[in-house]
Every structure is written in C-alpha cells, then in structure tokens.
C-alpha cells in the first residue's frame, strides 16, 4: 500500500510540471498583451519597455518559466498585475471555500446517487426504475446555474430557511457555515448525483447477474447481506473512477455557483483575472486547481486499491 501511494505521489510531480508548462505557453505565446491591457493601447514604447522590465516580461521565455517554477516551488506564485497582491495569498484566502463547497457537493451527490442507483438496479425494469431513469436524465440536463436560482428563490427568498447570499467563515460559526453551504452544495451536486446514480445502477445490474452472487444465494445468505455487503462493494469499483472525474467537474462548476450565492471562493478571483488578462493570477489558479484535481485522482487510486485487492502490489 505504501509503495502504491509513493509511486502515485511521484507521478504527480511530472504531471504538475507539464500542467505548468502548458498554461505558461498558453498564456505567454498568445497575442493578448498584458501591458497593452494595463497601460492602454496609446502608451509610448518607452513606457511599455519600462513596464515590461518591471514585471520581468522582457526576459527570455525559458528564464521566465523556470523562474516562475522556482518561486512556485517555494510557495511564491508572483503578484497580480493589477492589485499587486501576492497571488499565493489571494488563492490561499479563497481556496478553502471552493474546496469545502466542492466536497459538500460531492458528499451530497454520493449520499443521493449511490442509494438511488442501487434501488434502481434492485428493481431493474420496474415502473419505479423507469421513473428513476427519467429523474436521472433530467438531473443530467438541468443546468446547475438554473437550479441554484430556483433553489435560492424557493428556500432562501420565499421560505427564508437560508440566507439569500453571503458566507460565514467556519471560524466564526461552524453551524452558520454549514447552513450557508447547503443550497450551493445541492445545486452543485445534483448533476453529479445523476451521473453517480446512473453509473451505480448499471454497475449494480451487472454485478447482480454475476455468478458469485448466485453462489452467495446458493450458500443461503440473506438477500440484504448479499446486496449491501457483497454486491455494493463490487459495484463501487467502477463508480470510483467516475467520482474522480466528477470531483474535477465540481471544482469547475463551483466557480459559477459561487457567483450566484456570493460565496468568496476562487471563482470570482479567476473570472476577474480572465476578464482583465491578469496572467499571474490566472496561471496560479490553474496550477492550484490542477494540483487539487491530481491529488483527488491520487486519493481515488488509493481508495481503488483499498476496495479492489487486485491492483494492490503484492
């Protein structure tokens, strides 16, 4: 197990390097000129050159890239071109918010998706299963932004069960913090819940036809035990890889959901940096988010090893 963890951890390093290189090239080799954005199109060449020198944009690209990598390893992601605030600090302030939102969304999706998928598989072909299929298809098609609007209109504006907008930090009041996450997490998680329900259902249907399930019945095990202990664990193996992909989707969509509920996560920072071509912020955010996604993939692989003994190194 330790060796599996270590090798997977080591493979993250080159991936991060490639992600950095990819974003760096993407950002620097394109025509949009940050200096023109900051100083305006009418700036003199002398001003431009001076500004470029100040920001280090006049150095050779290779120097810039390895310079950036070197500082990034030390935790310095540069400064924003507009606010001059350190990128690492801005990200650190907001990172926890986005992550807790994504995790809350995933927890909601798992707690809804897996039971629904199992229920559908157990009554495969029944009227209830067909209804469930329709619900799942709809869940896959509903845009989360619309869901967020409807949820906030119904439960925050009309029923007043939740705050309409705003965010309470965990340190201030854990209860209010959790309450503030409910609506965004539900809006975020429904699409993922539908994906997981669908995957669980088809995996479960396949598992229930397996010979070992028949063998368990032949040994006289109670049906409950066969379904909950044996079939579910086997069906979760393919579901796990879906969970890894969905975690990345959730982080992405949370940027949009944050905006609706005025939750101060990475989304606002990122969208501002996109609109203003604030490259250090953009690049820093991409790297941080990509690292999170890679770590989630790593954790999923480890969980995969825990649940599926075949991939464990002997």
């Amino acid at each position: 197990m330790k060796r599996l963890l270590l090798t997977r951890l080591l493979s993250v390093v080159p991936m991060l390097f490639f992600v950095s290189l990819f974003t760096f090239l993407l950002v620097r080799l394109t025509s949009t000129d940050p200096i023109a954005q900051i100083l305006g199109q009418g700036a003199s060449d002398a001003d431009r050159a001076e500004y470029a020198q100040r920001l280090g944009l006049d150095r050779p690209l290779v120097d810039q890239f390895f310079g950036w990598i070197w500082s990034a390893v030390q935790g310095d992601l540069g400064n924003s071109l507009y606010t001059s605030l350190p990128v690492a600090e801005s990200i650190a302030d907001r990172f926890g918010v986005t992550l807790s939102l994504a995790i809350a969304g995933m927890l909601f999706a798992l707690s809804v998706g897996i039971p629904l998928g199992i229920a559908g598989a157990l009554r495969h072909g029944s009227r209830w299963d067909r209804l469930l299929t329709i619900v799942v298809s709809t869940g896959l098609a509903v845009p989360s932004i619309w869901l967020a609007l409807l949820l906030s209109l119904a439960f925050a504006v009309t029923l007043r069960w939740f705050q309409v907008v705003g965010y309470t930090p965990f340190s201030e009041s854990p209860l209010e913090w959790a309450r503030g996450l409910v609506l965004p997490a539900v809006a975020l998680g429904i699409h993922t819940a539908a994906v997981i329900a669908r995957q669980t259902r088809s995996a479960m249907i396949e598992v229930l036809q397996a010979r070992y399930i028949q063998a368990l019945r032949a040994r006289g095990l109670p049906r409950r035990q066969i379904v909950l202990r044996y079939a579910t664990k086997n069906a979760l193996v393919p579901v796990l890889s879906v969970i890894a992909i969905q975690m990345s989707v959730l982080v992405g969509v949370s940027f949009v959901i944050e905006r609706i509920f005025a939750v101060p996560g990475l989304g606002t920072l990122l969208i501002d940096s996109v609109v203003r071509a604030d490259f250090p912020v953009l690049q820093g955010t991409v790297i941080v988010v990509a690292s999170v996604v890679l770590v989630v993939n790593l954790l999923t692989d480890v969980a995969y090893g825990l649940i599926n003994p075949k991939v464990r190194p002997q």
């Binding site: 509903v142 036809q209 368990l216 202990r229």
Partner: protein, 637 residues
C-alpha cells in the same frame, strides 16, 4: 471485392439504424424537438415578434400577457423573442464547438494512433494534462488568452471536446491497426491516407456519433454557464445563459424570469442526451441488457399439479418428479427448457447427470436450488427433499435449505467467488447465515473447513483474496463454502471442467473423499463419462430437456439402451485407443424453442425410423426410446 461487401453491410446497417430508431418514440420525439430547435434558430428573425435587443422601459418586468406572451425583462425586452434568438446562439455555439472538437480530435487521433511511438506518447501526455484541468477552468483560461466573445468561448470548449474525440479515435485506430484487414489493405498497395480514411473512419463513426450527440448537450450547458458569467457573449447577442444572469438580478421582482430560459436549456440538453443514449443502444450493442431480465414478473408458487407417476422411492433424499420448466421463447409463447424430468438421489449415493451442453443439466440443478433466472419458471412437477416439497416455498424458507441442507459447487471457481472479499469472509458468512456463531467463531470454523478441503496453511489463507488462489485451490475454497453447514446433498455442477487436467483428478478425489467422511449424497453434473464411471453409483442421461436413460453406472455403461447414451459412450476417449479416431455425434443440440417433433433425438439418431419422427417417445423402464427393446447397442460400441 472486400470493399463492396463492407459498403453493402454499411447501407444495410444504416437502414436498420433508421428502422430501429423509428421503433423508439422517445428518440423520434428528441429528433423532432431538435429539428424544431434548428428551424427556430434559422428562422429567428422571421418568427420573433419583437427585436430581442430593443428596450422598452415602460413595459419592464411584465408577466405573460397578450402583448408579450412570455413577459419582458428588466429593460422591457420581449422574453419570447429573446428565447428564439437564444436558440440561435445555443445551436451555433454547440455546433461550432463540437465540429471543432470532432475535426481536431479525430485528425490528431488518426495521426497519432497510426504513427504511434513518440507522437502518440506526447499527444496522450497533453491529453492527460488537459483532462486534469476542470473544463470550465480551461474554458475560462482559454478565453482569458483568446479574448472574450462567443466564438472564442466555444473554440475553447471545442479544444476540450477534442481531447475525448482524440481518445475515442486513437483507441479505435489502435484496435483496427491490429486487425488483419488493414494489413491486407497495406499489402494490396493502398496508400496510408486512404487506408485511414476508408477502413478506419467507418469504424469510428458509431462511437463518434454517440459521443458527439452528448457533447452537443454539454456544449450547450457550458455556453449557458460562460454567458451567465458574462465572458461568453457580447451585448449584441442573446443567450439563454445571459437571460439567466438577468433573472438572477431581478428574480425577486419577477419570479417568472428564470423559468423559460432554464426550461429551454434543460429540454435541449435532455433531447441531446436521450438521443445519444438511444444511439448508443442502437449503434453500440453491448449485450449487457439481457432481455429476460427486464420482465421480472413474480410467478405465484406452483402447486404440485401432477402426481408423481414413477415409483416414489420414499427413502430417496432428493426426489424430482415430472419437473417441467418453461421460459418465454424469443418470438413469443413459451418454450419448455425441461420436460417431465424425474430423477432421485438416495442417501449416501452419487448420481451422475450427464449430457451435452444445452440439455438441461444445469437448469435442473438451478430448479432444485430455487435459483432459476428471472424469466424462467417451474410449470409443473415436484421437488422433494427428504419428503418436504421445495416448490412453492418462500424465498426465506428456501434460504434455510440452500447452504444448510443442499450445498452447491460451480464450474468456474473464480467466477463463484466475490473478487473484492477475502475468502475468510465469504466462507464465514456462509457459516453465520445458518448458525448463531459470532464472527471469530465463524472464522475459526472457516479455517477448519479450509483444512478439511486440503488448503494448506488455512489460518493465513483466510485473509487472502480469490485472485491469490490457483484454480484448483479456488475450487477447494468454493467446496469449503458449500460444506459450511455439512449439507445432506451436494450439487456439483461440472466441478472439474474449468480446471487444469492435472488438478481435475485431485478435486474429484476430494469430493469423493468428503462424500464418505460427511456421508453426503452427491448430484454430480458432468459431460465427462469418465468422471461418472469413476465417481457415481447411478447415472441419468439427459437430452433436449428430458431424461432419456437412467440406471446403475455399471449396467448403463456396459449395456446402454438409448442410442444417445451409446453415442456418448462411443465418443468417450479410452486409454488404449491412442491413434484411433473418436466417434462423434453428428449435429448439435437444438435450442429449447426448436425441439424437434417426435423423439427429440431423432434428427441425430443413427437408428431413427419414421415413427420416431411422428410421436414423442416416453420414458419406460428407465429408457426413453421406442426401439430400446429391439436395438442391441452394446455391440455397436
């Protein structure tokens, strides 16, 4: 020559595709909706009642009314007109991004898949990197680089899609490259490019169409999201996503604002997704959906309708009498999988049940265990275990018979064990299902059982998973699980067939040894008459869902009375005859819905007469053959 055949297959496949789509009303509804969407998008300037951008402050935030059917927004712009023009944006954006994704992804996939080597490795590394960045983030980053605007936004989305199209294409190319016909085409002198286009493109068409349909829906969702954020469209364009952004600001004043654009997005994405799902079912059949499983109707427990006609051996541990099992036949109606099957197993006796595959041996075992597949039912007969009728028992009552009184061993030991649970857990759960033992005691019992079946180092091996066992050892584990509660009857369904030849004898010896030590009865299902000769007291030969001959092994083997038994015996390899050709039985067992009229064996029988074709033979005196009295089959061997 080869090309014409492919084209014929192609066009036939297409007609079938349309026919099959036509049978699915949901798919037709989706296609209808999407065509309507396309028509609305094209005709938007002609059918929209108002200019979607024209503000009219006097009538702002109105509800649905005669002038504005769907109401107006914060600037008094007509919601219906904006929806219609929004359809234009949505269709354009989806088509742009998916077309870009298909063109780029397929071309790169074709190239790297075909060239392989470094090209392939670099391309796949880039694909990995791009997939480790969330799609929305990548789109935002690309917009940050390319600049705002719908075209750029959807180009960014197209770049993301191209990764999944690249993967599909590459996988197909790699698979097809292995295929002989590409090599054959190369030998024929076709140029590389034409090989790619002519041979591989038709093969990636199906998965590509499915993926593209779902990607269109996803593109629509992402377009809405980007427009909602204000990075997708500029102010001269209308988008459903941007309408939702307006709704966000003013929904407390006009709660109807979010309804229409949200519904439009949901319906359109739903149509793309459902169409994609249907296309996947039609174009990429996996065979995972067994037709029998969809119609799981619970059949009321069958009363014992037919009185046992044959001699009832009251001492018999297992008495199966006149068992008939039916299943729906593919074209409609019912097929008899088992007809009037009667066998019995005495206490301490081993009965061999033999016949070719498809003759109903395993079905008989499943019926006894009460584990018939969902669509298969018992239509009549009786199954008694020590005098107790099993047919009609509730599943819970049967549960106490299965595992406790009847144990079962399966053909493929690896398939009969859950791959993600330790063998200790699987055996101890079987023990605990029938006893009040705690976990620790049950594990100790499981170790005893493993020792009993000859697994070395049983305590340590309890923690192992099935894949850590060899085939023969895994079968010992399955046997241990079946013996958990020392059943009176052990049903062994081809217990040695899937094993190595060298292991077969060991496992068979083990079974025979256990039968002695635990004084069990055994129902041994096999197609290997050598096994029957070694291990069984009596034998029942099955053909076409019927018992055709029963008797003691010694008598039956030395003097077979049914031509099928004689043919099986003639096909049996015997040690001395090395070099002599084995006799084979011409033809094969027909499927259950096509049993021949008359005697079911007559088309393959060397001794069939016209009367065999007309009336079915009956089981009389242990043999189901009207010519049993006149034939001397012992000599024919």
């Amino acid at each position: 020559m080869a090309a014409t055949i492919t084209e014929d297959d192609e066009s036939r496949a297409h007609t079938r595709l349309w026919q099959r789509l036509a049978q699915r009303p949901l798919a037709l509804a989706c296609i209808g909706y999407l065509l309507l969407l396309l028509a609305v998008a094209i005709a938007a300037p002609y059918i929209a009642p108002y200019d979607p951008l024209h503000p009219d402050i006097k009538s702002r935030l109105q509800g649905p009314g005669a002038a504005h059917w769907f109401g107006t927004d914060d600037l008094g712009r007509d919601t219906l007109s904006r929806l219609i023009f929004g359809a234009r944006t949505a269709v354009l954006a989806s088509l742009e991004s998916v077309t870009f994704g298909v063109v780029v992804g397929v071309s790169i996939g074709l190239i790297v898949g075909y060239l392989g080597g470094w090209f392939d490795r670099i391309a796949m590394r880039v694909a990995d990197v791009m997939q480790s960045i969330p799609a929305v983030l990548l789109a935002l980053a690309l917009i940050g680089v390319l600049g705002k605007g719908l075209a750029n936004a959807m180009l960014a989305v197209g770049v993301i899609f191209s990764v999944s199209f690249l993967r599909i294409t590459r996988a197909v190319v790699l698979a097809e490259k292995e295929q002989l016909y590409v090599d054959a085409a190369r030998v024929l002198g076709l140029r590389t490019l034409s090989i790619l286009l002519r041979q591989i493109l038709p093969n990636i068409a199906a998965p590509l169409i499915v993926q593209a349909s779902i990607a269109l829906g996803t593109a629509l969702l992402i377009e809405a999201m980007l427009s909602f954020l204000g990075v997708g469209i500029d102010s001269t364009q209308v988008s459903w996503g941007a309408m939702l952004e307006t709704a966000r600001q003013f929904q407390t004043q006009q709660p109807l604002l979010p309804i229409f654009p949200g519904l439009a997005i949901t319906l359109s994405v739903l149509a793309f997704n459902l169409l994609g799902d249907t296309l996947r079912d039609v174009l990429l059949p996996t065979g995972a959906t067994a037709p029998g499983n969809t119609e799981r109707h619970v059949v009321p427990p069958q009363p014992v309708s037919t009185p046992p006609s044959s001699r009832t051996d009251t001492d018999a541990l297992l008495q199966v009498s006149n068992l008939t099992v039916t299943a729906p036949r593919p074209g409609g109606g019912m097929a008899e999988l088992l007809s009037d099957v009667s066998v019995h197993v005495m206490r301490g006796e081993t009965l061999g049940l033999v016949g070719e595959s498809g003759c109903g041996k395993s079905m008989t075992a499943s019926a006894i265990m009460g584990l018939l597949p969902p669509a298969v039912h018992i239509a009549g007969g009786s199954i008694r275990l020590a005098g107790t009728e099993l047919i009609g028992l509730s599943d819970d009552a049967l549960r106490h018979v299965r595992g406790r009184r009847i144990g079962m061993v399966f053909q493929e030991p690896m398939a009969a064990l859950s791959p993600v649970h330790t063998v200790g857990r699987q055996i101890s759960d079987a023990v605990r299902a029938h006893t009040g033992l705690g976990r620790k005691q049950a594990l100790a019992r499981a170790a005893e059982l493993l020792a009993l079946v000859g697994v070395p180092d049983p305590h340590r091996r309890l923690q192992d998973y099935p894949h850590q066992f060899s085939g023969g050892m895994a079968q010992r584990v399955v046997i241990a699980g079946a013996l958990a509660c020392e059943p009176e009857l052990l049903i062994a369904d081809e217990p040695t067939t899937a094993l190595d030849v060298t292991i077969q004898a060991q496992v068979l010896d083990l079974l025979m040894d256990l039968r002695q030590r635990l004084s069990m009865s055994v129902l041994l299902i096999t197609h290997d008459l050598g096994v029957v000769a070694d291990a069984c007291d009596r034998v029942a030969v099955m053909y076409g869902g019927e018992v055709v001959e029963t008797g003691s092994v010694r008598a039956t083997f030395s003097r077979p009375r049914h031509p099928y038994t004689a043919a099986l015996l003639a096909a049996m390899p015997r040690g001395e005859g090395i070099g002599t050709a084995l006799a084979t039985i011409p033809g094969r067992v027909p499927p259950a819905w096509a049993w021949p009229q008359g005697c079911r064996f007559h088309p393959r029988c060397a001794h069939a007469t016209p009367s065999c074709r007309q009336a079915p033979s009956v089981l009389q005196d242990g043999v189901r053959c009207r010519r049993a009295g006149e034939l001397n089959l012992a000599e024919a061997r």
